[in-house]
Assembly symmetry: C2
């Protein structure tokens, strides 16, 4: 049963697509059966995986408006045996208004994913840089949100809007939606600004911030124009190493989570020294009163 992660931040240029493509590729390298869904009308995850316009049949747009099933839109074995892709084209932008009057406007992707969910270990969704109905569909379908945060001026600004959207989704359509992680991107250790953003993020989100940060890396920036994930384009680059490390951290978190669901394993997990810096330190269900620093609800008031 796949864990579904929506990679979202309504700001553009924060590293959503870079993270979606390269984390998906890294998980596939680690032999996790992975599906990457491009949900951004810019289609950069699609082209970044090397899919040419001519190769594209049905897309996320067709799935959302009910023209085809999700299974119909899947392109299999993209660079890796374990990586599949649902592509997007600029058509997708139209879905925002086409869905407005639909009573199921928020739950279409969730229903579309249900029949194929057991075929994968991870489903990663690259969301568009806005908080409209496309992003809503992805948050309703997801188990958790992964937020890339660019280490630049005003990085945290606007996060309160994202988190209040999360709260709205939790309240109404998807109570179990979690903020699984915050990933710091375009980090430059030489800059005070990068260190300041990292420190602010860790203060707000605690252990939800991935220990690994994604550095500014020219190879990461070049890879999409060759249609290749970074582990294919240059596996030795610091960018590739960073995304492999994030994939490892994600797998560790999720292992811990399953252990926590098993009471015997949980006791062991709580004794583990690594539980202080990976994943959530508390078992499901979340308990905001006990761990205010890691709760998305608690962050709503001070997120920006």
């Amino acid at each position: 049963m796949a864990r579904i992660l929506a990679i979202a931040n309504q700001k553009g240029g924060v590293g959503k697509t870079t993270t979606a493509v390269n984390l998906a590729a890294s998980l596939a390298v680690a032999e996790q059966r992975t599906l990457l869904i491009d949900a951004d009308p810019q289609g950069n995850a699609t082209s970044g995986c090397g899919l040419a316009r001519a190769d594209i049949g049905q897309t996320t747009y067709d799935v959302l408006i009910g023209e085809c099933t999700l299974a119909d839109a899947i392109v299999r074995h993209v660079h890796f045996r374990h990586l599949d892709l649902v592509p997007a084209t600029p058509d997708l932008a139209g879905a925002e208004l086409e869905l407005v009057d639909d009573p199921d406007r928020g739950t279409r992707m969730r229903h579309a994913l249900a029949p194929i969910r057991d075929r994968y270990d991870y489903i990663l969704i690259d969301c568009p840089p806005s908080l409209g109905l496309i992003t809503l569909n992805m948050l309703v379908a997801a188990d958790a949100l992964l937020i890339p945060l660019q280490c630049e001026y005003y990085a945290l600004e606007g996060l309160s809007q994202l988190l209040s959207t999360v709260q709205r989704v939790q309240d109404v359509l998807n109570p179990s939606l979690d903020v699984d992680g915050v990933l710091l991107t375009m980090y430059d250790a030489r800059l005070n600004l990068s260190r300041q953003v990292a420190s602010d993020a860790r203060e707000h989100f605690g252990a939800r911030v991935f220990p690994t940060v994604i550095p500014r890396n020219i190879r990461l920036a070049e890879a999409p124009s060759f249609g290749k994930p970074i582990v294919v384009y240059d596996v030795a680059s610091v960018g590739a190493q960073a995304y492999m490390a994030v994939a490892r951290e994600l797998l560790e978190r999720d292992q811990q989570r399953s252990q926590q669901h098993d009471p015997h394993a949980q006791q062991h997990a709580n004794q583990s020294p690594s539980s202080t810096h990976v994943g959530r330190a508390t078992p499901e269900p979340r308990s905001p009163a006990q761990t205010p620093e890691t709760s998305p609800r608690a962050s709503l008031s001070n997120g920006a």
Copy 2:
């Protein structure tokens, strides 16, 4: 009575904000009473006009959700006596979903603009790079759409989605919405690609394409980080000259339009040789059967 222009294209990075700020400034220089409304959560038109976060009171977000009137949110005399601004902050992103369940979700900006419309000659709206409810509100409020088109690969791709959104708005909420102009941006005369995009655009949109093109210009790119429109930052630059020329073309089009509304003046206008390359050659209401090359509806089938 102001003419209201929504500057829209769901693609990011095509020059919407550059056009909004610099066309507004150029119109203000030409002594047109101009209001610039920042309707993009990125707030780049706001910062590009030099407004610091600390100076911002009420914003487009407050107007859309009904927290204040539009008049309350106006910042007056921005760089010029005749330029006013309604600022935006990242909060605005939240409006997409906050408005979804509102029966008036599409007409809030139109109602907000009505009381202040006669104070201005031009109201320019910088739309966000998506086709959600914020953009819908702006298209419903506007007399016309101005589409910046970047002279790059796939420039025309996605335009069919934009134009079908225009058609949807025309059909239901704003029958008089017009496509007033297509502005070619980031043009580089040395590149075949730029010339090809320009030629394709003129084929699709005919006389709606502004004769003046906006060149790639480093001074245009620099100006926003100084919080200045290009005519303030470097009036002698080719970028400043280009936007001043576009403002002139816009004024000429609108003069022609008013003449066409007066039958005596129209006869004169039809005899004018300049009517072949500026503005619409046909009087209101538009007649797609007679002038298919200049009709947005006719372009729907072949726009992308």
